[in-house]
C-alpha cells in the first residue's frame, strides 16, 4: 500500500519564478492538506482540498494556489517566488472531510524548495 508521495524531492528556483509541486495521497484517502515548514519551525497550514475544492485556507497570500484532481491527487502552485518561500513543503492526506474533526494526517516526504 503506497503512502503519500510527493514530487519533486528538491527544487531550486529564482525569485519571481513560478513552481508547481505535486502530491498523491495515500490509497483510499480523499482529503489533501498542504503545509509549509520553515527550518526549525512547525508545519504551517496552507490549505486543504476535498472533493476538488479548497475547503480551508491558512494565512497565505493569493500567490499560493492549489488544485485537486478527480483521482484525489493535488498540486500546489506558488507564483512570483520570494526568498522567504524557501522551505519544506509537505502534503498530508486523510479521510476526514474538510471542516470536520481532524484525524490522523499521513504526511509525504516533502519537497525542499530553495529560492535564490
Amino acid at each position: 500500500d503506497a503512502g503519500v508521495t510527493q514530487s519533486p524531492t528538491h527544487l531550486i528556483k529564482t525569485r519571481g519564478q513560478q513552481v508547481t509541486l505535486r502530491c498523491s495521497p495515500k490509497s483510499g484517502h480523499d482529503t489533501v492538506s498542504w503545509y509549509q515548514q520553515a527550518l526549525g519551525q512547525g508545519p504551517q497550514f496552507i490549505f486543504q482540498y476535498y472533493e476538488e475544492e479548497e475547503r480551508q485556507r491558512g494565512n497565505f497570500p493569493d500567490r499560493f494556489s492549489g488544485h485537486q484532481f478527480p483521482n484525489y491527487s493535488s498540486e500546489l502552485n506558488v507564483n512570483a517566488l520570494l526568498l522567504g518561500d524557501s522551505a519544506l513543503y509537505l502534503c498530508a492526506s486523510s479521510l476526514v472531510p474538510a471542516g470536520g474533526t481532524y484525524n490522523e494526517q499521513f504526511f509525504g516526504p516533502g519537497t525542499r524548495l530553495t529560492v535564490l
Partner: protein
Amino acid sequence: GQQVMQIPQYQHVQEGEDFTTYCNSSTTLSNIQWYKQRPGGHPVFLIQLVKSGEVKKQKRLTFQFGEAKKNSSLHITATQTTDVGTYFCAGPRTGKLIFGQGTTLQVKP
C-alpha cells in the same frame, strides 16, 4: 500568530533520563494530536487525544490532555537514542490544523 505553544524548544538528555514536552493552546481544542519528525524526515502521527483529562500510553510514551482541553503533555520514560527527533503537538482551530513549533530532543548515548 502562533496559537499553539510548546516548551521547551530544545532538550538534551542523557540516555535513560526522562523527557517531557508541554503544549499550550490559547483556546479550547476539540482534540489534540502529537507527531514525531526525525531529522531529515517528515512528521509521523503518534496519537490523538479527544476527552478532557485523557491519558494514553504507548510503551514508554505517556500523553495527557488537560481538563480544560487547552494543554497537553508528552512524557518519555527512560529515553533511548531512537527517541531523537522533534515532537509536535497540533490542534484544530477554525477548520485548520495548527502545529506548535515543536520540541527537539537530543539523546546522548
